[in-house]
């Protein structure tokens, strides 16, 4: 039961990451590969606030979201100068920079030693048990989903999709698309920071290895598999990608090669899915 609860919490965290990244990639068409950086900044900001300043989890969460939002705003200003492949490359560069800062700013982050002893949330309720944390994570998913739903169903959401389709044409109709791109980038980063706060408080130990470019690629895989421009697709993608490798543990592979076989089957599943359904499982948009 503990094992399943653990998986469910991870699934919820990745669902938040997927839904938030889908706002930028799926709805706005900006291939950001910096999401793990914001996830990491949120996690570290919360961890530092909890362990060094000893403030309440929810205040730490707010601090994490605000700090991440400010950094995303500055990065977003630079990114708004780029499009397409260049956008992906530059955002990837930002992820590398953030990872390097987390790794090397030892006075703040303890570098590769990581930050241990991050407390679980306590506010009115005690969230120290995994079950209570599961409920908290679920509530986070609900809130993030509702906010995202609200965004994409509004006129703002329609403009995001139009930017994805033809940014210059949208501009001619009176939209300052840079503001729109910046706004959704900051909102999405703030949501990723919330996932980072949850992660830090759940695992109680973080180090930079959780926030590498590969993590950004994994979150991209979540939304591409689940389907771009579909919020439920991101949740489905997170469900499959978090649980599939675990399910393959029970596939009966010989002990000596089980780990490698699991990775191979996992990779093959992704390749076949992309071959036969390139828009993802519930996707409404093809890259």
């Amino acid at each position: 039961m503990e094992y399943l609860t653990h998986l469910a919490i991870l699934f919820f965290i990745y669902a938040i990451l997927g839904v938030s990244l889908n706002l930028v990639v799926g709805y706005t068409g900006l291939l950001s590969s910096a999401h793990a950086a914001f996830y990491g900044i949120g996690a570290y900001a919360t961890a530092i606030a909890l362990t060094s300043l000893h403030i309440n989890f929810f205040l730490s969460l707010a601090a994490g979201i605000i700090i991440t939002g400010i950094i995303a705003f500055l990065i977003g200003i630079v990114l708004s100068r780029f499009r397409g492949d260049y956008y992906a490359l530059v955002s990837l560069g930002f992820n590398v920079i953030v990872y390097s800062v987390l790794l090397n700013w030892q006075g703040l982050t303890r570098g590769p030693l990581g930050m241990p002893g991050i407390p679980r949330p306590e506010f009115v309720f005690d969230f120290s048990s995994n079950i209570s944390f599961l409920i908290l994570s679920f509530l986070f998913v609900i809130v993030i989903y509702i906010i995202s739903r609200f965004l994409v169903a509004s006129s703002f959401g329609r403009v995001l999709k139009a930017i994805r389709e033809d940014e210059q044409a949208v501009q001619v109709f009176g939209y300052n698309t840079n503001y729109y791109k910046l706004a959704i980038f900051v909102i999405s980063a703030g949501m990723a920071a919330a996932a980072g706060s949850l992660f830090a408080s759940y695992i109680t130990f973080i180090d930079p290895s959780s926030f590498t470019v590969m993590e950004s690629v994994f979150i991209l895989a979540v939304i591409i598999l689940g389907g771009l421009s579909n919020l439920r697709g991101s949740i489905l993608g997170a469900f499959i990608l978090v649980l599939l490798p675990e399910a393959l543990r029970f596939a009966g592979f010989p002990q000596a090669i089980a780990a490698q076989m699991r990775q191979m089957v996992y990779g093959l599943c992704l390749i076949f899915l992309m071959l036969f359904r390139p828009q993802g499982l519930l996707g409404e948009y093809k890259l």
Partner: protein
């Protein structure tokens, strides 16, 4: 008084002069046809006027008062200008209805965040989509429309903008290209109605019969310069125009 003027307008592409000191005036409430052989700078002019290409020299004057040496694409709407594109540019992976709604709703981020399209928006979209015969297709993705339908949707989009009073100057870049005769009739009548409603229409077109039929004034461009202008009938009979256009 002119609705739109260019003064010594210059646009070049890496040394190739596309528009070379062009000075023209577009009178309000008329249909001004812009013709010229391929490569004469017609579409470049439309792209400069709509802010999609930067001005390299000279200026654009809007309504005799606003002199612009730089036009940002997102500001064009605030000058009351809108356009169609030579190569149709729609929001392909969005519905037909959304392609119209996107020009009807709020421009500011905060107001757009809290806005849902209402019955009023839907009524406006319904009117223009019915006008071009695409109301039945409103729920389908734009990418699935035929070429002619896509052209009509693009025209419906500027029509929607015009009907909300947000566009007084409409730049059409070859709106009839590739259309069936029935569709040509629809587009032609829409352009005439826009004029009757007091809009200023700039029409880049190669079909001389249509230019003769609907233009009040014709501007002939050749090699980025003004070659001739005036009444359609007279201009199209000029020898230099025929030579430039037909290469004879």
């Amino acid at each position: 008084m002119s609705a739109l003027k260019t003064e010594n307008l210059v646009k070049h592409f890496e040394g190739v002069m596309a528009i070379e000191g062009l000075s023209i005036s577009i009178e309000p409430g008329r249909i001004t046809g812009i013709i010229g052989p391929n490569g004469s700078g017609k579409t470049t002019l439309i792209n400069v006027l709509s802010g999609m290409l930067p001005i390299d020299g000279g200026c654009v004057v809007i309504g005799n008062t606003l002199r612009l040496k730089r036009i940002k694409p997102h500001r064009v709407h605030s000058y009351g200008i809108t356009r169609t594109f030579q190569e149709v540019r729609l929001f392909e992976q969005m519905t037909v209805l959304d392609n119209i709604l996107v020009v009807l709703t709020e421009r500011g981020i905060l107001s757009a965040l809290f806005e849902r399209h209402g019955a009023g928006h839907l009524k406006q979209a319904e009117d223009v989509l019915k006008r071009v015969g695409l109301w039945d297709k409103r729920g389908g993705l734009t990418i699935n429309l035929s070429y002619g339908q896509r052209k009509l949707l693009e025209i419906a989009r500027v029509l929607a903008l015009s009907e909300t009073g947000q566009a007084g100057i409409i730049l059409f870049d070859e709106p009839f290209a590739g259309l069936f005769p029935q569709m040509v009739k629809i587009v032609s009548s829409i352009i005439k109605e826009l004029k009757e409603d007091g809009r200023t229409v700039v029409l880049v077109e190669h079909n001389m019969d249509l230019i003769r039929e609907i233009s009040d004034h014709v501007i002939v461009m050749d090699c980025g310069n003004l070659l001739a202008e005036g009444n359609a009938k007279e201009v199209l009979e000029r020898r230099d125009v025929i030579e430039a256009y037909l290469g004879e």
